[in-house]
């Protein structure tokens, strides 16, 4: 098996003095598509932000492509939740996607042909090429999600981290995203996404990581057919419905 391109080892993360992640081990290899599952407040977004180097680890280590996350920014593509983005800003779809590469452009330089190619390629992949000149404020929820994915792809990342990409989007976008993530996986990109959509996660992902402050379980979807695991991740109330939905219990 290849070396992990994202290697989180024994990571404990504190937010405001509270332990949000506790001794978390998580590895992501090239060509993997992994779903990060857990209830609200389980630390899913925090785990992504830890991988990006946006929150410091109290104990443990984070290594991306052999480096600290802050030195590996070119390797990491990040698709935050949609509400992080100022959709009322007067900018076109194309302009918004191009901001994904702003940090690569020198202060006194203009965008290069390489930048333009990367933006055009990313727009094509999410099927937004014909809406490239539209102001972002006029887009639907699904189209907005595609813009955020394209912005991350414009970096041509080796690792793609997505926070709730399937929440509140239309069926065509859901389908497009599923195909796109599978394609990226096949091209050797390491993909990690948080999601509440368990059905989509089980059918799409090669591996699921169940998180609730600690890693409760981590393996292929089929190997997680143990009621106890889901009980520990989600607590008693929710687990019953979830298991039924997944067909884990008969």
């Amino acid at each position: 098996m290849s070396d992990p391109v994202l290697d989180i080892a024994g990571a404990t993360v504190l937010l405001g003095g509270r332990e949000v992640l506790s001794d978390v081990d998580f590895r992501l290899r090239q060509g993997e598509l992994v779903g990060l599952i857990g209830p609200n407040g389980a630390g899913k977004t925090t785990l992504l932000r830890t991988a990006l180097g946006l929150v410091p680890v109290h104990r443990g280590s984070v290594v991306v492509g052999g480096r600290a996350p802050r030195q590996a920014q070119g390797a990491l593509g990040y698709v935050p939740q949609r509400h992080e983005f100022a959709w009322d800003f007067p900018i076109t779809v194309e302009g918004a996607v191009a901001t994904g590469r702003t940090h690569l452009t020198g202060l006194l330089r203009r965008r290069t042909a390489r930048d333009r190619d990367a933006v055009t390629g990313a727009l094509d992949r999410v099927g937004m090429a014909d809406l490239r000149t539209r102001p972002v404020g006029e887009l639907s929820g699904g189209q907005r999600q595609r813009v955020l994915v394209a912005r991350a792809l414009a970096l041509r990342p080796r690792v793609l981290l997505l926070d709730e990409p399937f929440t509140g989007i239309d069926a065509p976008t859901q389908e497009l995203l599923s195909t796109l993530l599978t394609d990226l996986r096949d091209e050797g990109v390491a993909v990690l996404m948080t999601t509440h959509d368990l059905a989509a996660a089980t059918s799409l992902c090669s591996r699921l990581c169940l998180l609730n402050r600690v890693v409760v379980a981590d393996g292929e979807p089929a190997a997680l057919a143990d009621t106890d695991i889901w009980l520990r991740t989600f607590g008693l109330d929710r687990a019953g419905q979830l298991l039924k939905a997944l067909g884990v219990t008969g």
Binding site: G16, G95, D130
Partner: protein, 299 residues
């Protein structure tokens, strides 16, 4: 017609009017450009705070007989930095920190100014502007500082855009978000300082916010907005000055009222976004995405 032309040219024959028109023009341009970022980032309150916080610096410079623009710039920058640092404490929201500092610095300014004899008159000119009392060296300071602010905007523009759009992503790709915040605060401060003499401390916010807000109503493109805002700012300021010349009324107030009139016109009549001109239906007027839109409505 020739009478109109004469009226147009008349104020330019006086040195002090010429200086006033130049400063109004330059302030309008610089505030329009940097104001676009202020409006889009929703930091109008910070602009207000900085406007008040340059006051003690100007007061000190006035009492000690130093350059007013320089004094104001130093005080404004110090306050902008203090706000940036104190807002790192998450227990306090930014607006509280800003409120504390701008009131404090305004108080400090009044106390300092009261040490100067006959301070009532100078207080009034700080608060409401004294555009007809501008010196040649003031015009030069405004031109130099204004050019520097415009140059910096050109250099940092795409980074400001990326940071305003999505701070989380900007941090993730390693843009120096805190440094960019400080740079923007400092540039806002400088734009305000050079505009103080035109409209005064109380009204300077209008020069920063009103033209940019009007421009935002006219376009969905940042590039166009950053051209329209300085155009509105400079045009409105010069028109306000002319009205002041023609009717012999307060210049600062008329500049602000002219800008406000332009804003209201845009509010009512802007293509697509105006109150009286926007399309009846609220759905985006799109051509293609029918299936997506339908599917989303159903889900």
């Amino acid at each position: 017609m020739s009478a109109f032309l004469e009226a147009l040219i008349a104020p330019w024959e006086y040195d002090f009017w010429r200086r006033a028109l130049l400063v109004a023009l330059m302030s309008g341009v610089v505030c329009g450009v940097i104001g676009s970022h202020v409006v889009l980032r929703g930091m109008a309150f910070i602009g207000d705070a900085v406007a008040h916080s340059v006051f003690p610096g100007i007061a000190v410079a006035f009492v000690l007989g130093l350059d007013l623009v320089l004094g104001g710039a130093v005080a404004g920058v110090v306050t902008a930095l203090l706000i940036a640092v104190f807002t790192q404490n998450r227990r306090l929201k930014e607006d509280s920190v800003i409120g504390i500092f701008f009131a404090a610095s305004f108080g400090l300014g009044i106390v300092i100014l009261s040490t100067a004899p006959g301070y009532g008159g100078s207080l009034e000119s700080f608060l409401f502007g004294s555009i007809l009392g501008i010196s040649d060296s003031d015009v030069l300071s405004v031109a130099v500082i204004g050019a520097a602010v415009l140059l910096c905007t050109g250099v940092f523009n795409s980074r400001f855009v990326a940071t305003t759009l999505d701070r989380e992503q900007a941090r993730a790709v390693g843009l120096p978000v805190f440094g960019l915040d400080v740079a923007l605060h400092v540039m806002v401060t400088l734009a305000i300082v050079i505009s103080l003499q035109a409209v005064g401390n109380v009204l300077v916010l209008a020069l920063l916010v009103t033209p940019a807000a009007a421009a935002r109503l006219l376009t969905d493109r940042l590039g166009v907005m950053m051209l329209l805002a300085p155009l509105i700012g400079a045009g409105g300021s010069v028109l306000g000055l002319y009205l002041s010349y023609a009717f012999d009324l307060a210049a600062g107030g008329l500049i602000v009222l002219t800008l406000t009139a332009v804003f209201l016109l845009c509010w009512f009549f802007a293509p697509r976004h105006g109150l009286l001109t926007r399309p009846r239906r609220t759905a985006p007027a799109t051509a293609a995405p029918a299936p997506a839109a339908v599917a989303e409505e159903m889900s």
